[in-house]
């Protein structure tokens, strides 16, 4: 397989710290598990997910619809609603273990330590409140002693940093375009300089030009506050240009986690390989190929490795033995029996 002629090559990043450097991770997720107790049965939507991120790093999280990307983000915010439950694992931001906080502590951690920019920002703003009021109440609920003027100045700064006119402050959501609403949501996300920002499909409803602008906006604000950013999305091509690391989800599991260069030049997990191969490139003249087979239902997961019915590299053990995440040389992690001997 020839990966060298991909049309979407990762851009060089001189500022990126080498992986070996001693930087304290700002986000440590380990063993995270979420189950939805539906009428049809138990769906394990997140299964033993573990990874870390350093300050200033951008992670792109990809996977088919239903693979658990949003569940992952919501679990990190401790916002999984019934019938779902977080059944184990820990999320540590800086030196705060979110799972050990009480409800009030978690409320305060949201937005100030870890911010979530929701999937579907189109409907994420209250239609009957002005943008300004929706930004100010967020700040006020975390910094009750800050003066009104200071809060307002903070909100307007945030609007400016996402390239919005300060006049937006006085507008209602229905007066804004989709891209502007998305930026407002990002502006809200960065109001309190969180250490971790999660953006769930921040660009999926936008046109290509606006997509790029929003991605660049996220990039700029990330640089300004040196937060770790998790970008959730389907678009590998867009990801390739903006992220440092890529996490591939499949059926609730993190099947591969590596740097963007490793992912695009030498993907290890067979599913990740299939994803990269399916990208339009010069060989197949830009035709999107897709991956053969269907995503499995979480209620009836295949035995052993959940990917085995679609896997091109299937071995005997794959049908019966579940692979566990394995850290390979260089720090990348893969969940596949092909690498049982490595790491």
């Amino acid at each position: 397989m020839n990966y060298s002629n991909l049309s979407v090559a990762p851009t060089a990043r001189a500022a990126m710290p080498p992986l070996a450097a001693k930087v304290e991770p700002v986000l440590r997720v380990s063993g995270l598990e979420v189950t939805y107790y539906t009428d049809a049965g138990r769906a394990k939507a997140l299964d033993n997910v573990t990874f870390t991120l350093n300050p200033g790093e951008k992670l792109g999280m990809v996977g088919e619809s239903g693979s658990g990307k949003s569940t992952m983000a919501l679990a990190m915010m401790r916002m999984i609603k019934a019938p779902g439950r977080i059944e184990g694992g820990s999320v540590v931001v800086g030196d705060t273990d979110l799972m050990s906080l009480d409800a009030e502590g978690m409320r305060k951690a949201r937005l100030s330590k870890i911010a979530y920019i929701p999937q579907g920002a189109m409907n994420s703003l209250n239609p009957v409140m002005r943008i300004g009021a929706q930004m100010m109440d967020a700040v006020k609920s975390h910094l009750p002693r800050e003066s009104r003027a200071a809060i307002e100045a903070r909100c307007k700064r945030a609007l400016q940093s996402v390239d919005l006119d300060p006049g937006v402050f006085r507008m209602h959501p229905h007066e804004l375009s989709g891209g502007m609403k998305q930026r407002v949501c990002i502006a809200i996300g960065i109001l309190l300089d969180p250490q971790v920002i999660i953006a769930d499909e921040p660009t999926s409803a936008l046109d290509v030009v606006t997509q790029r602008q929003v991605m660049e906006t996220i990039d700029n604000v990330k640089n300004a506050i040196n937060a770790a950013v998790i970008l959730i999305g389907h678009d590998m091509g867009l990801m390739a240009q903006f992220v440092d690391k890529v996490a591939v989800m499949y059926a609730g599991r993190l099947v591969e986690f590596s740097t963007v260069r490793e992912m695009f030049t030498d993907p290890r997990h067979p599913y990740a390989r299939a994803l990269i191969d399916s990208l339009p490139n010069l060989d197949n003249k830009g035709v999107f190929q897709g991956i053969p087979g269907l995503a499995p239902s979480l209620l009836r997961l295949p035995s052993g490795c959940a990917f085995h019915p679609r896997c091109a590299s299937i071995m005997d053990s794959c049908r019966s033995v579940r692979p566990e995440p394995r850290v390979l040389a260089g720090g990348r992690s893969v969940t596949c029996h092909l690498y049982d001997g490595e790491g």
Partner: protein, 332 residues
């Protein structure tokens, strides 16, 4: 709201009032009953004048009321009277004018309806909102259930049950009437208290009859709003539960309920007529009831039109207020 839209709304209001007045004009005329004859026949029977005199009196009264004119002519006169808001004399309560009758009975009805409608709107919507709010304590969410069950009970039955148990068996409150028999209405605290006591059961009958409806519609609305992205995002922002409930959930869920309030105003009048009749309150509903029985059409016209115009005006008012509450309406 643009000026053009406002003018369109007002024209529509005039159309509604015209249609209502026309229907109201012709319906009592379909009956062959003659209120004057009934009224004076009664007088004649109880003694006084001879049958010949009776015919003369009736004929002169007919003339005085313009009832000897062709129907279409009467209709035009009637429309003219409406424009001047002058409904003339009551046939049955002659020589009182219809306007006098309305003025006498109106305060009772407005007092009762205003208080009960506002109270049931507030109570019903709060209970419904809480019932659909997943983070409310369980006992609080269940408070709504008995009110929902009460929606099935018609206002008549509700009123009779209240009169029987609270008024008759427990003797906590008077059975009916606007104030105690034998008391002369004065501007005093003791009279006000006596009057209030007489209003409690009718008010309860009306409130119990309508709270459940608000609870049900608000709970339905709340379930929808509670899952909206903006409510979730409010929680992601780390807002306190109370603020999310008030600013993000309740405010949005209430919007359609306000339209519902405008619609409810029409039906509330219907229950008021029943309840006023059962409790013997001298309100406008009771007056209408009596006027219909006597086929006193000037009074029927007056009251029905008054109610129609009042409800139509209130609905238009709600429509003008709505854009202030929902910024999305303003531009569309």
């Amino acid at each position: 709201m643009t000026l053009k839209l406002a003018i369109r709304r007002l024209l529509f209001l005039v159309l509604v009032i015209w249609a209502a007045s026309t229907i109201v004009f012709f319906i009592p005329r379909l009956s062959n009953r003659n209120a004057l004859r009934e009224r004076f026949g009664e007088l004649a029977r109880t003694g006084g004048f001879s049958p010949q005199d009776l015919e003369k009196i009736i004929a002169s009264m007919q003339q005085q009321f313009g009832l000897d004119q062709p129907l279409l002519h009467q209709y035009w006169t009637y429309l003219g009277n409406i424009v001047r808001m002058d409904f003339g004399y009551s046939l049955y309560r002659y020589p009182s004018t219809v306007s006098e009758l309305i003025a006498q009975s109106l305060p009772w009805t407005i007092g009762l309806l205003l208080v009960t409608t506002i109270l049931s709107f507030i109570i019903g919507n709060l209970l419904g909102a809480v019932a659909a709010w997943p983070r409310a304590p369980r006992w609080l969410r269940l408070t709504a259930t008995p009110f929902i069950l009460l929606t099935g009970v018609p206002p008549v039955i509700m009123a009779i049950l209240l009169i029987f148990f609270i008024g008759f068996r427990l003797k906590w409150l008077p059975l009916g009437g606007a104030y105690s028999v034998g008391i002369v209405p004065t501007w005093s605290w003791s009279f006000a208290l006596d009057m209030l006591k007489h209003q409690i059961l009718p008010a309860l009958a009306l409130i119990f009859g309508s709270v459940g409806g608000w609870v049900l519609s608000m709970r339905g609305m709340g379930i929808t709003i509670q899952g909206e992205d903006y409510v979730n995002f409010a929680e992601h922002k780390g807002l306190t539960g109370g603020r999310i409930f008030r600013d993000y959930y309740l405010r949005n869920a209430l919007l359609p309920q306000i339209t519902g309030l405008a619609l409810a105003l029409g039906t509330v009048i219907g229950s008021a007529i029943i309840v006023e009749g059962l409790f013997g309150l001298p309100g406008i509903g009771n007056m209408l009831n009596l006027a219909i029985r006597a086929n006193d059409f000037p009074t029927i016209y007056g009251i029905v039109l008054f109610i129609t115009i009042a409800v139509a005006l209130l609905m238009t008012l709600v429509e003008f207020i709505y854009p202030l509450l929902d910024p999305r309406i303003k531009n569309s």
